[in-house]
Symmetry: C2
Subunit: 151 residues, 2 copies
DNA sequence: CTCAATCCCAACCGATTGAGTTGGGATTGA
DNA sequence: TCAATCCCAACTCAATCGGTTGGGATTGAG
């Protein structure tokens, strides 16, 4: 998807390209590709020189939409699903006071996801740092400095 | 846990009681019980008339603590774990711009969980409210005769 | 017209995970 | 002593998820 975002405006990208770029098996991407298509997020053109293409500019695609398409309704637990249709299969729900918790968690997640668009994940190109194998290294203290950024 | 919350201040509750109250297998609760104990959330007393007991009043126990004890570090994806020690096993992390997303989701969840204490889940007994009538559910149609046996 | 490139789609596989089970202690109050 | 209780590790079992297989259908280019 990010690849598609980067590619946006340049015509369809073939799965083969994307597979190469992301180092993922093409066949696997196919599956994802068509749930995304069914969800109306991407358009496909068949035949030689076909491929996939975003149907909207990346900044108009909230991540929540993508995630819901790919992973189904957001639901930290079955008893707190997003999707009205199978509202509760839990059975226990009535007596389960914990439900409230999950609902809040779900809403928090939904909020985070709604507040973020695909555009934000398309890297400004050039900030692709090559990975260094110094894995276990230098910044042990590292308590997420990212905290402040939640708008 | 909620059971323990409700029981708080009345001495230890045996797993047998809890198992009965929650309709869960006792042996299973045992497992949970002692990860909670190891986490310092509950205290146990052995022997006849023993049982478990909260070590702090419910309103001093954030749900985040319970969840982390039971389920491990919060991490919607491996690449966005809470726990510094296995910071990234993802390998892809460097090139993976999506990481940012997961981090935000994780923080959202953490926020929701931190902002909620066990006390809030211990029902005041008697107020088992039937679920909110809510906005967009005009059609409870057919399905699931499951529950409705509220209280 | 033919053929390679591409999307389309369903069924399958295998490792991981999580809920739950089994079984055998160790402690302690009555 | 004995029953009630906690302690603990190893196990089973089913669902899920990342990924694979294997076959089409469509289309542009030569």
């Amino acid at each position: 998807m990010v690849q598609l975002g980067r590619h946006y405006g340049r015509g369809p990208a073939s799965l083969a390209e994307i597979a190469a770029a992301e180092d993922l098996p093409r066949a696997y991407l196919e599956q994802l590709a068509f749930v995304l298509r069914d969800a109306g997020l991407v358009a496909s053109t068949r035949g030689a020189h076909g491929g996939y293409e975003l149907r909207r500019p990346p900044q108009d695609i909230p991540m929540s939409e993508i995630l819901r398409a790919l992973e189904g309704p957001l639901a930290p637990m079955i008893c707190a699903t997003d999707a009205p249709e199978h509202a509760d299969l839990c059975g226990r729900t009535a007596s389960c006071t914990v439900n409230l918790l999950w609902v809040r968690v779900r809403d928090a997640v939904a909020g985070a996801l709604d507040g973020m668009t695909l555009a934000e994940l398309v890297p400004p190109r050039s900030m692709l740092v090559p990975l260094e194998p110094s894995a276990a290294a230098p910044e042990p203290t590292s308590n997420q400095p990212l905290e402040g950024a939640l708008t």
